[in-house]
Amino acid sequence: MPVNRSRALVLAAAGSLFLGACSGAGDTDGAAAGATATPVSGGSLTYAVDTEPVSFDIHASPQDITGAIQRNVFDSLVHQDSKGEFHPWLATKWSASKDLKTYTFHLRDDVKFTDGTAFDAEAVKINFDRIVNKSTKSQYASSLLGPYTGTTVVDARTVEVHFSAPVASFLQAASTPYLGFYSPAAIKKYGSKLSAGGAAAVGTGPFEFTSYTKGQSVTLTRNPAYKWAPSTAAHTGPAYLDKLTIRFLSQDATRVGALTSGQVQVADPIPPADVKTVKANSQLQVLTTDAPGANYALVLNTTQKPLDDIRVRRAVLRGIDIDTAVKSVYFGVYKRAWGPISPTTPYYDKALENTWTYDPTLAAKSLDEAGWTGRDSDGYRTKSGKRLSIEWPLMPQEYIREQRDTLGQAIQADLKKLGIEIKRPRLDIGTYIAKVYGGQEGIADYSWARFDPDVLRLYFNSSSDPREGGQNATFYKDADLDKWTDQAQTTLDKNTRQDLYAKTQQRAIDLALEVPLYVRTAVVGVASDVHGLKTDPNTWANFYDTWIGK
């Protein structure tokens, strides 16, 4: 999601990352980490993050940080690995009907919630029904369920989930913590109080949610009965750590200082400017990984002048020196982006790389062709006496992250050289939302984290209207883009999906609907005595296999 308080905080990587046994061993994979040393049980770990959840209710909250913390407390039906493959978790096997409107799951029979309630088909139904219930006010999970119509309990171990339209992305959705399962007893007892976390958050996961002190920390403790980890985990049985404390340290300097002085063992994120210092410290390791989903991009509103003209859009696309800007603002830590989705997202189209390099001459020619040939006294291009000017509003400072305002200045300067004026008025958030998502501004800028190419439908399908919770702020209606992104939801055939999603990515760039800027990159700092720290494909640190060495 595009903003600070939303699903923004991407913790680590799309892939499963494992930390090596010691700093020298470096970033080895999970098996190697297990082999180089014998894990020991016990100990506690403090994990510093920069955002505090507004709500801990996995079914209601749209925040990344909520998913990241609750991943340790809630399990999913299936587990998705870094390559996008699915593995059994709470479901031992599953099947989809031919039309992808019904999914059948066969559940494990030995799973218990931490309050002793058994996990069964009824629990699945209660949870999914809760998500779509109006009173849950779900801001994200309900969009993952999409055209959900209901769940049928076939028997205690079998459920069928029904949809009114094909949903190829449902397994991915089901693998996220947002479609995780609360104990039905807890739902009954706490209802809307689930947002407060603490004892109300009863799941089946490797950790129990022990306490929450608002403004300070969350404490999770090991679930001793846990024995249903997905087979991709490095071990089975309960987690190694006795206790996991999550501290909210929003200030970069405080968070980094806490890590370097050994007061926390894992800090996330490390700002790009500090990466070098942390890397140089022999007591620390740094994990740098690309986030999945839609890259941070300039989304061009194709219904507003002058961006309704493809020649102007192409000039903007080719007229920004993205390499230089991204490298200097992010100290070489973030990579520049070449397409709408990041390289770690399934069905990423590598063919787009290096196909639309910085070319101010071409951009100028494109503007000439569009008729913007005059120049005014400030050096901006004009056409029939009107200046070539585009408005790209700024959000209030507290919503801006990753120094995107600084990057914006570089973009402004590059486009000025071409004769394009970029105006950046600072809007209050209410006006910003109304104007940008109402299609009244020239440029919007955001990213969207999800480990699924279905974000392409969210971004480019004309039915994904930003006024109704969609994210297509290009407001472009294209029959092909609509067809391809819809079709990809109706099939699980990899070749077909590859073809459809590659065409979508290429067409989006070809039509210059957006200017991809950088691949969001998660940088996590970890003390060298922390072993086996993993992240799931949704990029969140998973502490199940983590242990503390000497």
Partner: protein, 312 residues
């Protein structure tokens, strides 16, 4: 003071306090109405996947589909019943939220206040009317302390005492050790202002004839300063301290953020950013209440400090 007079005074105070509180609630409500944008859209933030149905549900549940006048009356009705309502965003009762967050801020404010007043009194008493070079040095130090942003002071203190020397923990509100650095950070800027004001008052008092009389009676210089001059200079100090304490409630936000402490400041920031109407009004009421209580305490302190005010 006779008993009926005392009662009258108390009733007068209470009525004034109620007027201040209801005025504060009304003003807060009006201000929130003036903020542009759909309240639900602001609450959810940009780029939220919530569907129109869910937005409508939220709007309806919080009564935001009613007219502002209706909302205001409804809110006042609840308020009279002692119900501050439930935070839109955090979905918890406002009284619980404030109750949870109040204590860490009170601890921080009181400890900072103690440090600031002690420091200011010591510094001012030691330097008032002394050698110009000494006064200039103290004055410069105070100016620096008062004008350095708490954010910056906090980071410096953290770097020195937490990251390097590792004497104090970096953050939190779990024990006394974690209170020291934030309180010192907050106290420094307060002490700077207070010491400046106090020295000026002390110097004015020291120039008065009664000082010569006291010295002539054989009192030491220190005794004159602390027992006589300080008392004279204390009135503006108390007034200013009271006012600064009131502002500490919200002013602690920077310190709370740097040190990762829970507290009212952080809560206020969150509430205002997200246009969380019940929470904002609850916090405004709290701070109005604090000011009312403080001004009462200050008025009483005047009587303690200056006997001339007691005879009426």
């Amino acid at each position: 003071m006779s008993l009926p007079a005392l009662l009258r005074a108390i009733v007068k105070r209470l009525v004034a306090a109620l007027a201040v509180l209801s005025g504060a609630a009304t003003l807060a409500f009006l201000t929130l109405q003036l903020i542009p944008g759909d309240p639900v859209a602001v609450m959810l933030g940009p780029g939220n996947a919530a569907s129109p149905e869910i937005r409508a549900e939220i709007t309806h549940e919080y009564g935001l589909d009613r007219s502002p006048a209706e909302q205001y009356l409804h809110y006042l009705g609840n308020l009279l019943g002692g119900n501050l309502g439930e935070s839109y965003q955090l979905q918890r009762p406002v009284t619980d939220l404030i109750g949870d967050q109040l204590w860490p801020t009170v601890q921080l404010a009181l400890f900072a206040l103690l440090l600031a007043v002690t420091g200011a009194v010591a510094l001012a008493a030691a330097t008032a009317g002394r050698h110009p070079a000494l006064r200039a040095a103290a004055s410069l130090a105070e100016l620096l302390a008062a004008s350095t942003p708490a954010y910056w002071t906090g980071i410096l203190l953290l770097t020195a005492f937490s990251f390097q020397l590792r004497i104090f923990p970096v953050a939190g509100a779990q024990d006394f050790a974690s209170l020291v650095l934030p309180a010192v950070t907050l106290a420094l800027s307060l002490a700077g202002v207070l010491a400046q004001v106090l020295r000026e008052g002390l110097e004015a008092a020291l120039a008065q004839p009664f000082v010569v009389t006291a010295r002539a009676r054989g009192l030491s210089d220190t005794a004159v300063r602390l027992r006589h001059a300080l008392r004279h200079a204390a009135i503006p100090l108390v007034t200013l301290t009271g006012w600064l304490t009131g502002s500490l409630l919200g002013g602690a936000v920077l310190v709370e953020t740097v040190f990762g402490r829970p507290g009212i400041g952080a809560l206020t920031l969150q509430a205002a950013t997200n246009k969380d109407i019940p929470l904002v009004i609850g916090l405004v009421l709290l701070s109005a209440l604090v000011f009312v209580v403080l001004s009462t305490v200050i008025d009483l302190l005047y009587l303690v400090i200056d006997p001339r005010l007691r005879t009426r």
